[in-house]
């Protein structure tokens, strides 16, 4: 009973079989070193704008320490509804179509668990955020990953979708602007995908956490396509554009039946999102346009810089349209992504994440986050140039 082997065998098979995240492995290595310049961080380097923090301080001062409605504060849901309508033209009723979650992470888990029966397939695109595949498996669903291609700028195409769909496919999971590739979709791309989803009668989960962070054109949401609102769960949150990762605030917008289903799981597992974070988010929706504009302008300069620097070094890198990641092609150096990242860390103390942490088709790529100060990015680029000279 006491030896760890027997404990290990008692862990649920689904959980046992899912490997540790490649990010965590890499994190352990990087953490053991001093003075690392990290391009491996998937969160803004900005601190949450002061007026948003102050709203939480004030709420604490007023003694707001209770539970909220399971759905979230109505004032926040109203704010979310207005925000989403302004961005997409699609209105959701705050009373029964908006659910406040603990980050998009929870929202996604709710959405998948609310819909999946054992064996149902979920189509999604890789390279992808690290949690998609495990979340599907935790719900006994079958992950069906589409390997997006560098030639297409890692944009998902209708052909790729048609090749991978089956009669078991129930859900299409999208994430554009994309982590880790920085790819964003055009309106036409989105319309093609929507037509596919309608034709195959799929439910679409769209993780649009990076929607504010596009640099060359405005983001176009799939919910804006006629016929999509009724089959889509729209997932968004405050972590990225508002620099609020640690507040753990996300939300879903979906038709009442789907919202109610997610709500059931949320109610019995999470109860509600933390009230102080919700109060801060109310303020975030009211008064943060200028903050978002400022941060976005900073990211854009860094995007331009990091992309131009890679090009100069002869490292192909698709010019990222959105989010804050550059996905650089290091395949010509004859190393795996992990070997490259480890050697770079070892020799130049620069951390980036091997593309394989985001799916097998990330082989040959490294993800470089530009959510770090321009000074650090400049130094990192100098070091990477020095590194590849010696290869």
């Amino acid at each position: 009973m006491n030896d760890s082997k027997s404990l290990h065998s008692r862990i649920a098979k689904t959980v046992r079989d899912i490997p540790r995240s490649g990010i965590r492995d890499f994190f352990d290595i990087v953490s053991s070193r001093e003075d690392v310049i990290s391009l491996g961080i998937g969160e803004p380097d900005f601190v949450t704008p002061w007026h948003i923090r102050e709203a939480a301080v004030l709420a604490l001062d007023r003694g707001m320490t209770s539970y909220t409605s399971n759905m979230g504060l109505l004032s926040l849901r109203r704010g979310i509804s207005q925000y989403v309508e302004k961005k997409t033209g699609i209105a959701y009723r705050p009373e029964n179509e908006v659910l406040v979650t603990v980050g998009v992470s929870e929202g996604l888990d709710l959405a998948i668990r609310a819909l999946i029966e054992p064996g149902d397939e979920v189509l999604y695109h890789e390279p992808s955020y690290v949690s998609y595949n495990p979340l599907i498996q935790f719900a006994y669903g079958k992950p069906a990953a589409i390997q997006t291609k560098k030639e297409n700028g890692f944009r998902l195409t209708r052909d790729e979708l048609e090749e991978n769909v089956s009669d078991k496919t129930k859900i299409l999971l999208l994430n554009y602007p994309n982590n880790p590739t920085g790819a964003a979709l055009s309106k036409k791309d989105v319309e093609d995908i929507a037509a596919f989803a309608i034709e195959h009668d799929l439910i679409v989960l769209t993780d649009e956490i990076y929607d504010e962070l596009t640099y060359d054109r405005d983001h176009f949401s799939i919910i804006s396509v006629p016929g999509m609102r009724e089959r889509t769960i729209y997932l968004h949150g405050f972590s990225k554009a508002w620099a609020m990762t640690g507040w753990r605030m996300g939300f879903t917008c979906a038709p009442p039946e789907l919202t109610e289903a997610m709500m059931k799981i949320h109610q019995y597992t999470m109860l509600c999102a933390p009230i102080l974070s919700q109060e801060a988010s109310v303020e975030a929706l009211k008064n943060a346009d200028a903050d978002i504009g400022y941060m976005k302008a900073e990211y854009k300069k860094r995007r331009n810089f990091i992309h131009a620097s890679f090009e100069e070094m002869g490292i192909p890198c698709i010019r990222p349209d959105g989010a804050f990641y550059a996905f650089a092609d290091i395949s010509r150096f004859g190393m795996t992504a992990k070997e490259f990242a480890l050697k770079l860390l070892d020799e130049q103390n620069v951390a980036c994440v091997p593309g394989t942490a985001f799916g097998a088709c990330g082989e040959g790529f490294i993800r470089c986050s530009y959510a770090t100060s321009m000074d650090e990015i400049k130094e990192a680029m100098v070091r990477i140039a020095r590194f590849i000279e010696k290869l």
């Binding site: 990010i23 994190f27 953490s31 990290s38 961080i41 969160e43 949690s131 331009n304």
Partner: protein, 159 residues
């Protein structure tokens, strides 16, 4: 405002090569625009933002509110320009409200600053009254927070 000016305001030592990369324009274009701004007097100078408190012989900054009788011709301009010529005067602004001009004076001691007010400023024709304040501590200047920042508390690698 022009993005190039914003970059220079953040860091005047930034290289044209880096700025070209950030803005997605050519190095030559960056250089050309800078020369143009200098010629037009849009860029007046390049200076370091110094944290005086870190220096042994820190200077005393004095803020002076000045009430002035405007002249029939030229209004406040002539007297403001006259005040501006004193090397110890760092900045001069025309203000709305209960006084007219706001001056920032740098001196080695409070005594020196007081001397400037009583001997040079108050005796000038057209000056009605002055109110002198000594600056005690600088928290932020030119958009730069003076205490050196907190460490980055973020995880070194995250998804």
């Amino acid at each position: 405002m022009n993005e190039l000016l914003n970059l220079l305001k953040q860091n005047a030592l930034e290289t044209p090569e880096n700025m070209a990369k950030m803005l997605g324009i050519s190095v030559d274009e960056v250089k050309k625009q800078i020369v143009q701004y200098e010629k037009e007097g849009v860029i007046r100078a390049y200076q370091a933002v110094v944290n005086e408190e870190k220096l042994d012989s820190s200077l005393v900054t004095t803020v002076i509110e000045v009430k002035v009788t405007p002249e029939s011709e030229g209004g406040f301009d002539r007297i403001a320009e006259r005040i501006s010529r004193f090397p110890e005067v760092e900045s001069v602004y025309l203000m709305s409200g209960t006084f007219d001009l706001l001056l920032f004076i740098k001196g080695r001691t409070m005594h020196e600053a007081a001397g400037f007010v009583s001997e040079k400023l108050a005796t000038m024709p057209g000056i009605v009254s002055t109110a002198t304040h000594f600056m005690m501590k600088t928290y932020k200047q030119n958009g730069i927070v003076m205490h050196t920042g907190e460490d980055d508390e973020r995880l070194k690698v995250s998804p």
